[in-house]
């Protein structure tokens, strides 16, 4: 199983290295609970049944003065544990963004880019600073995970992450692989529309708004979209993501299992679609 969306901000070893991370986690991300050890984190992956977890930072330097984990810390975690897959983050308005992304991919071995327009407060359609990043991702052949919809950050602006804004980006960069987190909630129909229209768009499952993850995932996938439409139109494009540490990853796994989908589709969601998206080769049976 692959968890395509997690943030290692709550791993204590990182805040031990850089105590400012605790302040950023609290002030920017809105995470107020105590960090836990890498050992506990790996036990949580075990219980959830997650073989590989994509870990990603968020660089908010321009607007908030800090990074929610750095690309270098992601690289350090990759060296510590081979169950992690690393995505990079750069601040789109940083003049060195392109250089930093290239370094993260070529030197640190990171294989995707995380952008959070709500938190980084940028316009995803900006041709001056955002489009060159998309062009570079196309050239490097790496996907971008866009935060989609509501931001739980106390200073996040949801409107900036309305997935409908991505359509011009998708059309301008037709070979760019785009992942939209949390099915874009509350703009689920907009995200669904992009998914059924564009085959390079992937929708990620960390749907968390009220009730348990099982409640909210069921409400969106079964009631708003409809299970039949998952089979018909999205079976190759749904990827499992937990958005840890907003919730313990086991609960998102249970949420998907509680849908009682056909095992073939469940395996695509938990493993195959992400493996194809990330160009991972054999070794895991999911």
């Amino acid at each position: 199983m692959i968890d395509l969306h997690s943030n290692p901000i709550h791993i204590r070893e990182l805040s031990d290295q850089d105590p400012k991370l605790l302040d950023y986690a609290n002030r920017i991300y809105g995470l107020k609970s105590s960090p836990h050890s890498l050992e506990s984190h790996l036990h949580q992956l075990d219980v959830a049944g997650i073989d590989k977890a994509v870990i990603m930072p968020i660089d908010c330097t321009t607007v908030h003065g800090g990074k929610l984990v750095t690309n270098e810390q992601i690289s350090w975690l990759l060296e510590k544990c081979d169950r992690f897959i690393g995505f990079a983050s750069v601040d789109p308005r940083d003049p060195d963004a392109l250089k930093n992304l290239e370094k993260a991919v070529k030197e640190y071995g990171l294989i995707g880019l995380k952008l959070d327009a709500s938190l980084q407060q940028f316009d995803v359609t900006n041709e001056e600073y955002a489009y060159p990043l998309y062009q570079l991702c196309t050239e490097l052949n790496i996907p971008i995970l866009f935060h989609g919809g509501m931001s739980w950050s106390p200073i996040g602006i949801a409107e900036l992450s309305n997935p409908i804004k991505l359509e011009t980006v998708i059309q301008t960069f037709p070979s760019l692989k785009v992942i939209i987190s949390q099915f874009g909630w509350p703009w689920v129909q907009e995200a669904f529309m992009l998914g059924i229209k564009y085959k390079n768009v992937f929708l990620e499952t960390s749907i968390l708004f009220s009730g348990t993850p099982s409640d909210s995932v069921r409400q969106v996938l079964a009631e708003q979209i409809g299970i039949a439409n998952l089979y018909r139109s999205l079976s190759e494009q749904i990827v499992f993501g937990s958005n840890t540490p907003r919730v313990d990853p086991k609960r998102l796994v249970w949420a998907i299992e509680d849908l009682e989908l056909d095992k073939k589709l469940e395996k695509k969601i938990f493993y195959k679609n992400a493996a194809r998206l990330l160009s991972l080769s054999g070794g895991m049976d999911g």
Binding site: G30, K32, S37, W254
Partner: protein, 143 residues
């Protein structure tokens, strides 16, 4: 009267787990070095518990299964929402209820320098929302 307090930590490894902590308690009591008094063992968390029972694998499994029956995961709990004070989803209502049922602590008498226990009694830390790093305290009051 003197007070001895020791905090002991552990890493639980399962969602639900029953962990024998008897020897850790006996070691802490010995470390306190008191002849007479009371030994109080308490978990510091609201989704875990302390209990005493016969140290048999089947009893241990029955206790966990009882907790599943009393507070099943799939139920319409009120505690299923975003918790602003944590910045995380609080979706473990059943874990809190299981903890409430089992209780947070237990007490043993201390006499002639030894903790008074029945021959079949085993002391357990019970994880109800793991895996997590956990702490419990051993408090010895006496002289």
């Amino acid at each position: 009267m003197k007070s001895f307090l020791k905090t002991i930590s552990l890493h639980s490894k399962e969602d639900m787990e029953i962990i024998d902590i008897t020897q850790e308690i006996l070691d802490a009591v010995q470390e306190a070095g008191f002849d007479l008094g009371t030994v109080h063992i308490m978990t510091k968390h609201t989704t875990s518990g302390i209990t005493v029972n016969e140290g048999l694998p089947d009893i241990e499994q029955d206790i966990l299964e009882m907790l599943h029956r009393i507070a099943p995961r799939k139920h319409n709990y009120r505690h299923a929402r975003f918790l602003h004070s944590d910045g995380q989803m609080a979706v473990n209502g059943y874990s809190h209820l299981r903890s409430a049922v089992l209780g947070k602590d237990t007490i043993f008498p201390l006499h002639d320098g030894k903790m008074v226990m029945g021959s079949r009694q085993t002391i357990y830390f019970v994880e109800m929302d793991g895996p997590l790093h956990r702490e419990y305290v051993v408090h010895v009051l006496g002289e």
